[in-house]
Symmetry: C2
Subunit: 219 residues, 2 copies
Protein backbone atom coordinates (compact mmCIF):
# COMPACT_ATOMS: atom_id res chain seq x y z
CA UNK A 1 0.00 0.00 0.00
CA UNK A 2 1.35 3.40 -0.98
CA UNK A 3 1.23 5.99 1.77
CA UNK A 4 0.60 9.63 1.01
CA UNK A 5 1.07 11.43 4.28
CA UNK A 6 0.54 15.16 4.88
CA UNK A 7 0.88 16.93 8.24
CA UNK A 8 -0.87 20.23 8.92
CA UNK A 9 1.09 21.76 11.74
CA UNK A 10 2.42 24.93 13.40
CA UNK A 11 6.08 24.84 14.40
CA UNK A 12 5.87 25.88 18.12
CA UNK A 13 2.97 23.49 18.88
CA UNK A 14 3.85 20.75 21.37
CA UNK A 15 0.86 18.85 20.01
CA UNK A 16 2.18 19.07 16.45
CA UNK A 17 5.64 18.05 17.66
CA UNK A 18 4.18 14.83 19.07
CA UNK A 19 3.10 13.83 15.58
CA UNK A 20 6.48 14.85 14.10
CA UNK A 21 8.26 12.66 16.68
CA UNK A 22 5.91 9.73 16.02
CA UNK A 23 6.38 9.95 12.24
CA UNK A 24 10.16 10.18 12.66
CA UNK A 25 10.19 7.17 15.02
CA UNK A 26 8.43 5.13 12.35
CA UNK A 27 10.61 6.52 9.53
CA UNK A 28 7.60 7.81 7.58
CA UNK A 29 8.16 10.36 4.82
CA UNK A 30 5.57 13.12 4.76
CA UNK A 31 4.77 16.54 3.44
CA UNK A 32 4.85 19.20 6.17
CA UNK A 33 2.42 22.09 5.70
CA UNK A 34 2.84 25.03 8.05
CA UNK A 35 -0.43 26.70 9.05
CA UNK A 36 -0.91 30.37 9.84
CA UNK A 37 -3.31 30.11 12.78
CA UNK A 38 -4.44 33.70 12.33
CA UNK A 39 -5.51 32.80 8.80
CA UNK A 40 -6.30 29.10 8.72
CA UNK A 41 -6.12 27.36 5.35
CA UNK A 42 -9.26 26.03 3.64
CA UNK A 43 -7.57 22.61 3.84
CA UNK A 44 -7.34 22.78 7.66
CA UNK A 45 -10.96 23.92 7.98
CA UNK A 46 -12.07 21.11 5.67
CA UNK A 47 -9.98 18.42 7.37
CA UNK A 48 -10.78 19.38 10.98
CA UNK A 49 -14.17 21.13 10.83
CA UNK A 50 -14.97 20.30 14.47
CA UNK A 51 -11.96 21.74 16.29
CA UNK A 52 -10.30 23.69 13.40
CA UNK A 53 -6.95 22.95 15.07
CA UNK A 54 -3.58 21.57 14.13
CA UNK A 55 -2.14 18.98 14.07
CA UNK A 56 -4.04 17.08 11.39
CA UNK A 57 -2.54 14.01 9.77
CA UNK A 58 -3.92 13.40 6.28
CA UNK A 59 -3.23 9.82 5.28
CA UNK A 60 -4.19 8.92 1.72
CA UNK A 61 -6.64 11.81 1.71
CA UNK A 62 -8.32 10.99 5.01
CA UNK A 63 -7.85 13.18 8.11
CA UNK A 64 -6.99 12.09 11.64
CA UNK A 65 -7.21 14.78 14.34
CA UNK A 66 -6.11 15.25 17.97
CA UNK A 67 -2.45 14.57 18.67
CA UNK A 68 -2.74 11.52 20.94
CA UNK A 69 -5.32 9.96 18.62
CA UNK A 70 -2.94 10.55 15.71
CA UNK A 71 0.04 9.03 17.58
CA UNK A 72 -1.98 5.88 18.35
CA UNK A 73 -3.16 5.77 14.72
CA UNK A 74 0.43 5.96 13.46
CA UNK A 75 1.39 3.19 15.89
CA UNK A 76 -1.40 0.95 14.63
CA UNK A 77 -0.88 1.53 10.89
CA UNK A 78 2.92 1.27 10.97
CA UNK A 79 3.01 -1.40 13.64
CA UNK A 80 6.19 -3.24 12.67
CA UNK A 81 8.73 -0.57 13.64
CA UNK A 82 9.32 0.89 17.15
CA UNK A 83 5.96 0.16 18.79
CA UNK A 84 4.85 3.05 21.04
CA UNK A 85 2.35 1.08 23.13
CA UNK A 86 3.03 -2.30 24.75
CA UNK A 87 0.90 -5.19 23.50
CA UNK A 88 -0.27 -6.28 26.97
CA UNK A 89 -3.66 -4.65 27.78
CA UNK A 90 -2.67 -3.79 31.35
CA UNK A 91 0.52 -2.02 30.35
CA UNK A 92 -1.33 -0.37 27.48
CA UNK A 93 -3.95 0.97 29.92
CA UNK A 94 -1.13 2.19 32.19
CA UNK A 95 0.44 4.14 29.31
CA UNK A 96 -2.92 5.61 28.31
CA UNK A 97 -3.55 6.65 31.91
CA UNK A 98 -0.30 8.62 32.04
CA UNK A 99 -0.73 10.18 28.61
CA UNK A 100 -4.18 11.28 29.76
CA UNK A 101 -2.68 12.66 33.00
CA UNK A 102 -0.27 14.78 30.93
CA UNK A 103 -3.18 15.91 28.73
CA UNK A 104 -5.21 16.98 31.76
CA UNK A 105 -2.48 18.58 33.83
CA UNK A 106 0.41 20.06 31.88
CA UNK A 107 -0.68 22.43 29.09
CA UNK A 108 -3.04 24.87 30.85
CA UNK A 109 -0.83 25.16 33.91
CA UNK A 110 2.35 25.59 31.88
CA UNK A 111 0.72 28.24 29.69
CA UNK A 112 -0.12 30.35 32.73
CA UNK A 113 3.57 30.53 33.66
CA UNK A 114 4.33 32.72 30.64
CA UNK A 115 0.88 34.18 29.99
CA UNK A 116 0.01 35.47 33.47
CA UNK A 117 1.64 37.38 36.32
CA UNK A 118 1.55 37.74 40.10
CA UNK A 119 -0.61 35.38 42.14
CA UNK A 120 -1.95 33.45 39.13
CA UNK A 121 1.58 32.83 37.87
CA UNK A 122 2.77 31.71 41.31
CA UNK A 123 -0.10 29.22 41.60
CA UNK A 124 0.71 27.90 38.12
CA UNK A 125 4.41 27.46 38.96
CA UNK A 126 3.51 25.53 42.10
CA UNK A 127 1.08 23.29 40.19
CA UNK A 128 3.60 22.77 37.38
CA UNK A 129 6.25 21.59 39.85
CA UNK A 130 3.75 19.34 41.67
CA UNK A 131 2.69 17.78 38.37
CA UNK A 132 6.28 17.15 37.27
CA UNK A 133 7.16 15.68 40.67
CA UNK A 134 4.30 13.20 40.21
CA UNK A 135 5.65 12.43 36.73
CA UNK A 136 9.12 11.98 38.22
CA UNK A 137 7.64 9.48 40.66
CA UNK A 138 6.11 7.53 37.78
CA UNK A 139 9.38 7.61 35.82
CA UNK A 140 11.30 6.31 38.84
CA UNK A 141 14.60 4.72 37.84
CA UNK A 142 13.42 3.72 34.36
CA UNK A 143 15.25 5.29 31.41
CA UNK A 144 11.91 6.06 29.71
CA UNK A 145 8.27 6.18 30.83
CA UNK A 146 7.77 3.19 28.54
CA UNK A 147 10.53 1.29 30.39
CA UNK A 148 13.65 0.40 28.42
CA UNK A 149 12.29 1.93 25.22
CA UNK A 150 10.89 5.29 24.21
CA UNK A 151 7.09 5.07 23.91
CA UNK A 152 3.65 6.69 24.00
CA UNK A 153 4.02 8.57 27.32
CA UNK A 154 7.49 9.80 26.34
CA UNK A 155 6.07 11.17 23.08
CA UNK A 156 3.19 12.83 24.96
CA UNK A 157 5.52 14.63 27.37
CA UNK A 158 8.86 15.31 25.68
CA UNK A 159 7.52 18.01 23.36
CA UNK A 160 6.91 20.32 26.34
CA UNK A 161 10.68 20.26 26.86
CA UNK A 162 11.09 22.73 23.98
CA UNK A 163 9.09 25.21 26.10
CA UNK A 164 11.08 24.68 29.33
CA UNK A 165 13.37 27.70 28.75
CA UNK A 166 10.25 29.84 28.25
CA UNK A 167 8.64 28.57 31.47
CA UNK A 168 11.90 29.02 33.41
CA UNK A 169 12.59 32.51 32.08
CA UNK A 170 9.11 33.94 32.58
CA UNK A 171 8.62 32.02 35.84
CA UNK A 172 12.11 32.76 37.16
CA UNK A 173 12.72 29.22 38.40
CA UNK A 174 14.78 26.17 37.54
CA UNK A 175 12.96 23.00 36.53
CA UNK A 176 16.20 21.05 36.95
CA UNK A 177 16.53 22.19 40.57
CA UNK A 178 13.01 20.89 41.27
CA UNK A 179 12.89 17.82 39.03
CA UNK A 180 16.40 16.67 38.11
CA UNK A 181 15.24 13.25 36.93
CA UNK A 182 12.85 14.84 34.43
CA UNK A 183 15.70 16.85 32.94
CA UNK A 184 17.93 13.74 32.77
CA UNK A 185 15.07 11.90 31.05
CA UNK A 186 14.53 14.79 28.61
CA UNK A 187 18.22 14.85 27.70
CA UNK A 188 18.08 11.10 27.15
CA UNK A 189 15.12 11.61 24.78
CA UNK A 190 16.97 14.42 22.98
CA UNK A 191 19.76 11.98 22.13
CA UNK A 192 17.26 10.34 19.79
CA UNK A 193 17.32 11.84 16.29
CA UNK A 194 13.54 11.48 16.04
CA UNK A 195 13.15 13.86 18.99
CA UNK A 196 16.09 16.23 18.40
CA UNK A 197 15.00 16.83 14.79
CA UNK A 198 11.33 17.36 15.67
CA UNK A 199 11.65 19.88 18.51
CA UNK A 200 12.52 23.52 17.80
CA UNK A 201 15.30 25.26 19.68
CA UNK A 202 14.19 26.38 23.18
CA UNK A 203 15.41 29.94 22.55
CA UNK A 204 13.32 30.20 19.37
CA UNK A 205 10.22 29.18 21.32
CA UNK A 206 11.08 31.87 23.87
CA UNK A 207 11.44 34.52 21.15
CA UNK A 208 8.12 33.40 19.68
CA UNK A 209 6.45 33.76 23.08
CA UNK A 210 7.88 37.26 23.59
CA UNK A 211 6.57 38.22 20.15
CA UNK A 212 3.16 36.65 20.83
CA UNK A 213 2.74 38.44 24.16
CA UNK A 214 3.42 41.74 22.39
CA UNK A 215 1.17 40.88 19.44
CA UNK A 216 -1.78 39.97 21.68
CA UNK A 217 -1.09 42.81 24.13
CA UNK A 218 -0.45 40.39 27.00
CA UNK A 219 2.19 42.51 28.72
CA UNK B 1 -7.45 -17.48 33.35
CA UNK B 2 -9.72 -16.75 36.30
CA UNK B 3 -10.97 -13.20 36.47
CA UNK B 4 -11.53 -11.47 39.78
CA UNK B 5 -13.14 -8.16 38.94
CA UNK B 6 -14.04 -5.41 41.41
CA UNK B 7 -15.51 -2.02 40.51
CA UNK B 8 -15.15 0.98 42.81
CA UNK B 9 -17.97 3.25 41.80
CA UNK B 10 -20.55 5.84 42.87
CA UNK B 11 -24.07 5.26 41.55
CA UNK B 12 -24.85 8.70 39.96
CA UNK B 13 -21.49 8.91 38.16
CA UNK B 14 -21.75 8.89 34.37
CA UNK B 15 -18.10 7.83 34.33
CA UNK B 16 -18.80 4.86 36.57
CA UNK B 17 -21.84 3.97 34.45
CA UNK B 18 -19.61 3.70 31.38
CA UNK B 19 -17.69 0.90 33.08
CA UNK B 20 -20.93 -0.79 34.23
CA UNK B 21 -22.24 -0.74 30.64
CA UNK B 22 -18.94 -2.08 29.28
CA UNK B 23 -18.82 -4.93 31.81
CA UNK B 24 -22.47 -5.80 31.08
CA UNK B 25 -21.86 -5.78 27.32
CA UNK B 26 -19.06 -8.31 27.80
CA UNK B 27 -21.09 -10.38 30.30
CA UNK B 28 -18.45 -10.04 33.02
CA UNK B 29 -19.39 -10.85 36.61
CA UNK B 30 -17.94 -8.43 39.14
CA UNK B 31 -18.18 -7.18 42.67
CA UNK B 32 -19.62 -3.66 42.88
CA UNK B 33 -18.31 -1.51 45.71
CA UNK B 34 -20.11 1.77 46.33
CA UNK B 35 -17.84 4.61 47.47
CA UNK B 36 -18.81 7.45 49.78
CA UNK B 37 -16.99 10.33 48.08
CA UNK B 38 -17.11 12.43 51.24
CA UNK B 39 -15.23 9.67 53.02
CA UNK B 40 -13.19 7.76 50.45
CA UNK B 41 -12.20 4.21 51.30
CA UNK B 42 -8.56 3.27 51.94
CA UNK B 43 -8.95 0.88 48.97
CA UNK B 44 -9.86 3.74 46.60
CA UNK B 45 -6.97 5.89 47.83
CA UNK B 46 -4.59 2.97 47.41
CA UNK B 47 -5.86 1.96 43.97
CA UNK B 48 -6.06 5.48 42.48
CA UNK B 49 -3.53 7.54 44.44
CA UNK B 50 -3.09 10.05 41.61
CA UNK B 51 -6.67 11.19 41.02
CA UNK B 52 -8.40 9.57 44.04
CA UNK B 53 -11.51 9.23 41.86
CA UNK B 54 -13.98 6.55 40.89
CA UNK B 55 -14.40 4.52 38.77
CA UNK B 56 -11.54 2.13 39.38
CA UNK B 57 -11.59 -1.36 37.91
CA UNK B 58 -9.54 -3.82 39.93
CA UNK B 59 -8.75 -6.84 37.79
CA UNK B 60 -6.98 -9.68 39.58
CA UNK B 61 -5.72 -7.18 42.15
CA UNK B 62 -4.41 -4.59 39.67
CA UNK B 63 -6.13 -1.20 39.24
CA UNK B 64 -7.13 0.49 35.99
CA UNK B 65 -8.31 4.11 36.29
CA UNK B 66 -10.08 6.70 34.13
CA UNK B 67 -13.34 5.56 32.55
CA UNK B 68 -12.39 5.61 28.86
CA UNK B 69 -9.06 3.90 29.63
CA UNK B 70 -11.00 1.23 31.54
CA UNK B 71 -13.52 0.73 28.72
CA UNK B 72 -10.69 0.21 26.22
CA UNK B 73 -8.96 -2.14 28.67
CA UNK B 74 -12.14 -4.23 29.02
CA UNK B 75 -12.48 -4.33 25.23
CA UNK B 76 -8.90 -5.56 24.85
CA UNK B 77 -8.96 -8.20 27.61
CA UNK B 78 -12.41 -9.63 26.73
CA UNK B 79 -12.00 -9.19 23.00
CA UNK B 80 -14.13 -12.05 21.72
CA UNK B 81 -17.57 -10.70 22.66
CA UNK B 82 -19.19 -7.46 21.39
CA UNK B 83 -16.11 -5.48 20.34
CA UNK B 84 -16.45 -1.78 21.23
CA UNK B 85 -13.82 -0.47 18.83
CA UNK B 86 -13.53 -1.41 15.16
CA UNK B 87 -10.35 -3.25 14.16
CA UNK B 88 -9.48 -0.89 11.30
CA UNK B 89 -7.04 1.82 12.54
CA UNK B 90 -8.82 4.63 10.71
CA UNK B 91 -12.24 3.78 12.15
CA UNK B 92 -10.64 3.24 15.54
CA UNK B 93 -9.09 6.73 15.39
CA UNK B 94 -12.48 8.12 14.35
CA UNK B 95 -14.13 6.54 17.43
CA UNK B 96 -11.38 7.80 19.72
CA UNK B 97 -11.74 11.30 18.27
CA UNK B 98 -15.47 11.39 19.11
CA UNK B 99 -15.05 9.87 22.56
CA UNK B 100 -12.43 12.56 23.20
CA UNK B 101 -14.84 15.22 21.88
CA UNK B 102 -17.46 14.05 24.41
CA UNK B 103 -14.81 14.08 27.14
CA UNK B 104 -13.79 17.65 26.32
CA UNK B 105 -17.22 19.14 25.72
CA UNK B 106 -20.06 17.52 27.62
CA UNK B 107 -19.42 17.18 31.37
CA UNK B 108 -18.39 20.70 32.42
CA UNK B 109 -21.04 22.37 30.30
CA UNK B 110 -23.79 20.00 31.42
CA UNK B 111 -22.83 20.46 35.07
CA UNK B 112 -23.29 24.22 34.79
CA UNK B 113 -26.92 23.73 33.73
CA UNK B 114 -27.88 22.45 37.19
CA UNK B 115 -25.09 24.01 39.27
CA UNK B 116 -25.32 27.64 38.11
CA UNK B 117 -27.96 30.28 37.43
CA UNK B 118 -28.63 33.31 35.26
CA UNK B 119 -26.17 34.25 32.54
CA UNK B 120 -23.75 31.38 33.26
CA UNK B 121 -26.58 28.85 33.05
CA UNK B 122 -27.87 30.35 29.79
CA UNK B 123 -24.41 30.16 28.21
CA UNK B 124 -24.12 26.53 29.36
CA UNK B 125 -27.50 25.61 27.86
CA UNK B 126 -26.53 27.16 24.55
CA UNK B 127 -23.20 25.32 24.53
CA UNK B 128 -24.88 22.06 25.54
CA UNK B 129 -27.31 22.29 22.63
CA UNK B 130 -24.53 23.24 20.20
CA UNK B 131 -22.46 20.26 21.35
CA UNK B 132 -25.36 17.84 20.99
CA UNK B 133 -26.24 19.23 17.56
CA UNK B 134 -22.66 18.47 16.48
CA UNK B 135 -23.05 14.96 17.93
CA UNK B 136 -26.36 14.59 16.05
CA UNK B 137 -24.54 15.52 12.86
CA UNK B 138 -21.96 12.80 13.51
CA UNK B 139 -24.67 10.23 14.30
CA UNK B 140 -26.51 11.07 11.07
CA UNK B 141 -28.82 8.27 9.98
CA UNK B 142 -26.82 5.52 11.68
CA UNK B 143 -28.55 3.58 14.47
CA UNK B 144 -25.46 3.93 16.69
CA UNK B 145 -22.32 6.09 16.65
CA UNK B 146 -20.44 2.87 15.97
CA UNK B 147 -22.64 2.20 12.93
CA UNK B 148 -24.88 -0.87 13.03
CA UNK B 149 -23.64 -1.90 16.46
CA UNK B 150 -23.35 -0.23 19.85
CA UNK B 151 -19.71 0.73 20.51
CA UNK B 152 -17.12 2.92 22.22
CA UNK B 153 -18.65 6.33 21.42
CA UNK B 154 -22.12 5.09 22.38
CA UNK B 155 -20.75 3.94 25.75
CA UNK B 156 -18.97 7.29 26.25
CA UNK B 157 -22.16 9.30 25.64
CA UNK B 158 -25.19 7.26 26.70
CA UNK B 159 -24.51 7.53 30.43
CA UNK B 160 -25.25 11.29 30.32
CA UNK B 161 -28.79 10.33 29.33
CA UNK B 162 -29.55 9.44 32.95
CA UNK B 163 -28.94 13.12 33.76
CA UNK B 164 -31.12 14.54 30.96
CA UNK B 165 -34.18 15.04 33.21
CA UNK B 166 -31.95 16.99 35.64
CA UNK B 167 -30.56 19.21 32.87
CA UNK B 168 -34.05 19.78 31.42
CA UNK B 169 -35.67 20.54 34.77
CA UNK B 170 -33.04 22.94 36.08
CA UNK B 171 -32.46 24.44 32.62
CA UNK B 172 -36.15 24.62 31.73
CA UNK B 173 -35.68 23.33 28.19
CA UNK B 174 -36.39 20.22 26.15
CA UNK B 175 -33.44 18.31 24.73
CA UNK B 176 -35.83 16.36 22.46
CA UNK B 177 -37.12 19.60 20.92
CA UNK B 178 -33.54 20.61 20.09
CA UNK B 179 -32.00 17.24 19.26
CA UNK B 180 -34.69 14.65 18.44
CA UNK B 181 -32.22 12.24 16.84
CA UNK B 182 -30.15 12.11 20.04
CA UNK B 183 -33.25 11.15 22.03
CA UNK B 184 -34.20 8.49 19.45
CA UNK B 185 -30.63 7.13 19.66
CA UNK B 186 -30.73 7.17 23.50
CA UNK B 187 -34.02 5.23 23.52
CA UNK B 188 -32.48 2.72 21.10
CA UNK B 189 -29.53 2.29 23.50
CA UNK B 190 -31.92 1.92 26.45
CA UNK B 191 -33.51 -1.08 24.74
CA UNK B 192 -30.26 -2.89 25.43
CA UNK B 193 -30.26 -4.65 28.81
CA UNK B 194 -26.60 -3.74 29.32
CA UNK B 195 -27.55 -0.05 29.24
CA UNK B 196 -30.96 -0.16 30.91
CA UNK B 197 -29.58 -2.12 33.87
CA UNK B 198 -26.53 0.12 34.30
CA UNK B 199 -28.17 3.56 34.28
CA UNK B 200 -30.12 4.79 37.31
CA UNK B 201 -33.60 6.22 36.93
CA UNK B 202 -33.54 9.84 35.69
CA UNK B 203 -35.80 10.99 38.55
CA UNK B 204 -33.44 9.50 41.14
CA UNK B 205 -30.55 11.45 39.64
CA UNK B 206 -32.70 14.59 39.84
CA UNK B 207 -33.48 13.95 43.52
CA UNK B 208 -29.81 13.36 44.19
CA UNK B 209 -28.95 16.68 42.52
CA UNK B 210 -31.56 18.56 44.56
CA UNK B 211 -30.12 17.00 47.73
CA UNK B 212 -26.53 17.80 46.66
CA UNK B 213 -27.33 21.45 45.90
CA UNK B 214 -28.79 21.80 49.40
CA UNK B 215 -25.95 19.90 51.03
CA UNK B 216 -23.28 22.08 49.40
CA UNK B 217 -25.30 25.27 49.79
CA UNK B 218 -25.51 25.81 46.02
CA UNK B 219 -28.97 27.39 46.04
Amino acid sequence: MAHEVVLLDFWPSMFGMRVRVALAEKGIKYEYKEEDLRNKSPLLLKMNPIHKKIPVLIHNGKPVCESLVIVQYIDEVWKDKNPFLPSDPYHKAHSRFWADFIEQKVYDTARKIWATKGEEQEVAKKEFIETFKILEGELGEKPFFGGETFGFVDIALITFYSWFYTYETFGNFSIEAECPKIIAWAKRCMQKESVANSLPDQKKIYEFTVWMKKYFGMD
